[in-house]
């Protein structure tokens, strides 16, 4: 019933809109700028998911679409109204061009937009009829070379300063030398005779000092030696260069994409999982280019984001012009950053789903990292410390109901650390 009502209301609106359009048709064209602005907003809200202005997307490029249709097919705006509002009806009616488009696109239909009035469509068409603006300087055209230039100029200044200071130092030295020569020649310089034993000799002769110093030296070297050995195999700060520059800063930070949208297996599996490329393509089918602002930010990091997206297309075999997977996929060989030894069993779902630990607790402020690095040392001591300090999350899990009751009764306290629940036992992680 709802549907029928809806249709009624729409036809009413359409009727009113038509009347309005006929009445104010001249004023609409006169409005110009306003119509284009309105059209842009409508385009972005309704059309941009499938259409781009200048490139083939799910649907064809729309710049100058009306003129094109007029020219090539002799179709007028009325046809476009029908097509946009209900393309399937048009196809069913056997319209020649509508059927042709339908066949050419693998029998995929364009979504119907009955909510758009003719006026809206006019606005959109006004927007699409705009000429392409000449490219703005910088932006997308910037290449890493430019980045280098910027760095180069900074370095130049630094070098110049270094040379300058060097010259200054040399000058001072020469002045000093000359003055000294004069002083010697004038006999005004008093050369002091060294008296007593030099300090190092005194030091060597003092056995107590030698012994104390040796002890300190040995202790010191033991300390640093131990420190060195303990960091062997600890790769904190490991930040390898990945085959595709993927910015967590943009995805998790700016765009606020939930971590587990891509790393979905962290919820159920021991692995957090590196997302398969089809997950990337969920969004990147439509995002072939980043905005100019983002591209400009890339300069800071020396990255051309658009080129990185192309790498993704390369890997998946996606052809953006044909909007289809045409080439053989080439799986991406990511460099694994967080490596645990084989003899450790770590389960993401235990920590993420059960304990409710934030990803950032172990992985750091990943949403701010342009290039991901290993935030935590991943040593056993680090694991154990967290187990000692963290309260077990009993809430909302029927698994813990009975156990928690028993514990409360027995020990008279409400919260328990993971370590008190057996999280320090060897066999919980080593098997």
């Amino acid at each position: 019933m709802k549907k029928v009502n809806h249709r009624n209301s729409i036809s009413r609106i359409l009727g009113i809109a038509l009347a309005l359009m006929l009445a104010f048709s001249t004023s609409i064209f006169a409005q110009g700028e306003a119509a284009i602005k309105e059209g842009e907003a409508l385009f972005k809200a309704n059309c941009a998911a499938c259409h781009k202005m200048d490139a083939m997307s799910t649907g064809p490029a729309l710049r100058g679409v009306e003129a094109r249709l007029e020219e090539e097919e002799g179709l007028d705006r009325e046809w476009l109204y029908k097509w946009i509002k209900n393309s399937s009806a048009l196809i069913k009616s056997g319209d020649r061009y509508a059927v042709k488009v339908y066949e050419a696109n693998g029998k995929r239909q364009m979504t119907a937009f009955p909510q758009l009035s003719n006026e809206d469509i006019d606005n959109i068409l006004a927007y699409t009829a705009q000429e392409k603006a000449p490219p703005v300087n910088g932006g997308g055209e910037l290449t890493p070379v430019v980045v280098d230039n910027g760095g180069f100029s900074n370095k130049m200044i630094l070098w110049a300063l270094i040379v300058l200071f060097g010259l200054l130092a040399l000058g001072l030295f020469l002045v000093n030398k000359t003055l000294r020569k004069f002083a010697v020649a004038n006999g005004t310089l008093v050369v002091e005779e060294e008296k007593g034993t030099p300090i190092w000799k005194a030091f060597v002769q003092n056995q107590f000092l030698v012994i104390v110093a040796t002890i300190f030296f040995l202790l010191g070297s033991a300390y640093f030696g131990y420190g060195y050995l303990m960091q062997v195999g600890v790769d904190q700060g490991y930040q390898p260069i990945q085959p595709i520059h993927y910015s967590h800063r943009i995805h998790a930070g700016d765009n606020k994409i939930e971590c587990k949208y891509c790393h979905s297996s962290a919820r159920v599996s021991k692995h957090s999982g590196i997302p398969s490329l089809n997950v990337c393509m969920n969004c990147h089918k439509n995002i072939a280019q980043v905005s100019e602002d983002v591209q400009k930010e890339g300069v800071k990091y020396g990255v051309d984001y658009n080129a990185e997206i192309q790498k993704l297309y390369e890997a998946t075999g996606w052809d953006p012009t044909k909007q289809d997977y045409v080439n053989d996929p080439k799986p991406v060989k990511w460099v694994r950053i967080h490596n645990l030894p084989d003899f450790v069993y770590f389960n993401h779902s235990q920590h993420v789903s059960v304990a409710g630990v934030d990803c950032q607790t172990c992985h750091g402020q990943i949403q701010e990292m342009e290039i991901v690095e290993q935030h935590s040392p991943l040593t056993m001591g680090w694991c154990i410390n967290c187990h000692r300090e963290t309260d077990v999350n009993f809430r909302g899990s029927a698994y813990y109901d009975k156990i928690h009751e028993q514990l409360k009764e027995k020990y008279g306290v409400e919260s328990f650390k993971a370590s008190q629940m057996g999280a320090l036992e060897c066999g919980k992680c080593h098997y």
């Binding site: 692995h271 999982g273 490329l277 890997a315 998946t316 990511w334 059960v354 029927a398 698994y399 098997y431």
Partner: protein, 1055 residues
Amino acid sequence: MASNKKYWKSVEELNENSTIVETLRQNEFVEEVPVDEFLGDKQTLESSSTSRRDFLKYVGFSTAAATLAACEGPVIKSIPYVVQPETIVPGVADYYATTIADGYDFASILIKTREGRPIKVENNKEAVTKGSANARVHASVLSLYDSMRVKQPKIAGADASWETLDAEIGQKLNQVSASGKQIVLLTQTFASPSTAKLVGEFKARYGNVNHVVYDAISESTALDAFEAKYGQRALADYDFSKAEVIVSVGADFLGDWQGGGYDDGYAKGRIPTGKHGQAKMSRHVQFEANMTLSGANADKRVPLSPSDQKVALAKIYAGVTGNSVSGRKLSDKVEDAIKKAVAQLKKANSKAVVVSGINDVDAQSLVLAINESLNSEAFDKDAPRKIRQGDDKAVAKLISDMKAGTVGGIIMAGVNPVYTLPNGEEFGEALSKLDLAVTFTQKEDETALKTKYVAAAPHYLESWGDVEIKKGHYSVMQPTIRPLFDTRQFQDALLKWTGNEKAYYEYLKETWTTEILGGTPWNIAVHDGVFKTTAEVSLADEANAAIEEAEANQTDEEVGATAMQNTDVGAQARKLASTPAASGMELVLYAKTGMGDGQQANNPWLQEFPDPITRASWDNYLTISQADADANEIKNWNVANGGLNGSYVDVTVNGQVIKNVPVIIQPGQAKGTVGLALGYGKKAGIKEEMQTGVNAYKIYNNFNATQNVSISLAGGTHEFACVQLHNTLMGRGDIVKETTLEIFNTKDHHEWNPMPHVSKNHEMIDATDPGADMWDEFDRSIGHHFNLAIDLNACTGCGACVIACHAENNVPVVGKSEVRRSRDMHWLRIDRYYSSEDTFSEDVEKKENFGGLFGDNGSLGGFVEMEDPAENPQVAFQPVMCQHCNHAPCETVCPVAATSHGRQGQNHMAYNRCVGTRYCANNCPYKVRRFNWFLYNKNDEFDYHMNDDLGRMVLNPDVVVRSRGVMEKCSMCIQKTQKTILDAKRDGRPVKDGEFQTACSAACSSGAMTFGDINDKESKVAELLEDDRMYHLLEHVGTKPNVQYHVKVRNTKEA
């Protein structure tokens, strides 16, 4: 304390005039070391481009470089899917239902896959019939990753493509078809309705096609008998859980008799149930020659030679049916046993069942007649088993046809006749002369070497298929991995060669939806893996009828003759009763639990699997009784390193000699008989390490497992890899406790399951009394506390748990010579104990009556006597793994705290912490710890599955692969218990009883192993803990194990 003794190191020193001795007193070397030769040559030294300085530089640099390189971690790459399949989540296992049907083993199973790799076999609990995997089925997942598999089709030994193969074979099939000669399909038993239908279509396409079904180990006589009586070529099915009295004459029904898989039903009836005083369990009497699993589990076992068994069966028939049959008199003991067995059978009537493994149509007919006359509930003739269909006569005719040259072409699938036929070489000759000879095989085996076209066949885990295990009980086989190699299954090839463009999957689906499922969706059948229907399915019978028709035409006379015989069961009984006693030795050929018919001989898990009875691995051997061994001067003895040595004999059957067969003296072997296992001695398509034993198929004449044989002692000594040193229990009743049903019912459990006492302040208190405890107790009352209960009554010793443990825990294979040094790595062993007297209680009595050290009753001589297993010992199986003691002796002696105790009752072992002192193993009273003496993976010295990339695919990614110098042991499958807990936590629910499983308890279909949480008072295992039969191993040591055992009860009631 001056001594005039002269010490000497070498005989040479005794010779006073020896110049060498004199020289050696002065110099280190007898001859001067020619230093000048290389240092004196100044010219060469100077012309050398490498100066000493350079040399040191290089050494220094490479050492430094190696050191630095070692500090740098390797760069590890991760490659995700491009498009991730929906069902696969890395790190989470998927299970698929499928079916094994390799012609010998048939079972509905689940396959655990990780990241698309099958890694373990589990039982399919949905399946009503054959839903449990035996040791071989558990190991079959490793055979998938066999590096010796045929990787692509071959023509005359050279690699070829399927296109060429199709073209050539297609052309030749037409030629042969046109020439009027017969085309033979020689296949294993498929028991597959779709395949049968397909073969029918193939016949229709090519006309003169003869389908011969060939089982390497034949059950043809039983099939013939069943067919003659009920008109269907199948085997009667038995449900031993319904039987109160089981009499078996030569049938190892707990082994592989008639397809096996009877142990679950049997075990159900073996657990004494009911109130105290009225507990009931089945009574099992076994007449047999070899000591088999069934004999070992029997309440009464009568060793009897095969020719005597026939007479005994005739007498049982006479007794049960009341017909008089006069057979020759057997020994008094046997006659008595038969009389009592008959009395019990008659008393139990419909609750009784008789089975026989005698390869004789008369004997098998008699069994059917006896069960009919008993009206046995355990006997099922209406829904018979279809998993053996081999026809000896057809195979014999095929061989004569091939010799006569009337065979134009042969297509073989799943068979290896050149190896498994006694006249295999002859067959091979005939085969190599055939222009059209095709074999579908996974290995380049003996037959493949003689066959022109070798069609690479996929493993069952890469194939589609269906099986009708018994009438109305269907199973689906689905692939669980993409084919690893360029293989094609037999059915797909048949489809192609009949000009059908469909894939076998489509064909299968179509057959099922139209003719079997009757409305049930196909996807449900694939998901469950099994489908049961009572509706008559016409298609299989049609195909069968077609086969039978063809057979009837060929062997009209023979069938007629059989029918004549079958008219009178009485006559058959009389014929059987008149079997004369064998003049010489009788040989009984059998299949070992680990090896079966030998298809999986290249599987290291199975080679290293110790036989449940002899406990020997990596071998087959002649089993012989002590008396016959003495008569032939055959010896077995243990050497200093614990290894078992034995004599060799030459075995002669019908002029065919097998030389150098090692002999094991088998307690309980019937006098005048010897046993030898089939399935060994393979040479082709198998790694050198696995080429073990002798090929007993060479003397498997006329498909009869019983042969007249003569043996003669040969020279030399054989070294066995036998893992059980102690032959008997020697009255150590506290390890295996057993009692009789009568005592169990009438007496208090303190009498038959006594608690050991220890002395405290000169007073005897219970060993489990808290006062006897010197340790502070952990608090285990909150959370989980795991226990594993093992019921010695239900354990048949089948060994499925041993292989399941291997697969789950990445237990390495160490090879024959290491096993011989008792360095086997099995985390779970099944100890087998014999009694030296007829019963264990007599053993205990004897031990307790020892008086003094010497004399007639002296313990010194007495224990030696007790080491000697009796002629007919009683046998007990006891699975032993880490007992996970609450007061573990191993934990206190570890200098690095590598082994520690968990609150959940598991004894943890941190491998990376272990430094290999082996103190723990020395301090373990149960001897369950295993030491990695070598690196067993990626080591050419141990060239088993862990040494190649393919074989390593079977490893469980959740369990670490241990390195050299590390102790390991049963972890009570902590990876599984942790996973169960995590799943429950994630779902936010308590763990249900039965969810906790270890690999062994999940594999145990007989219900002998129960695992669970004793803090869950409702759980089965908590209930078992309170059972009267419960005891712990070596309770008096005070280790408080978390593994319970349940006293074995025997039903010794004779009448």
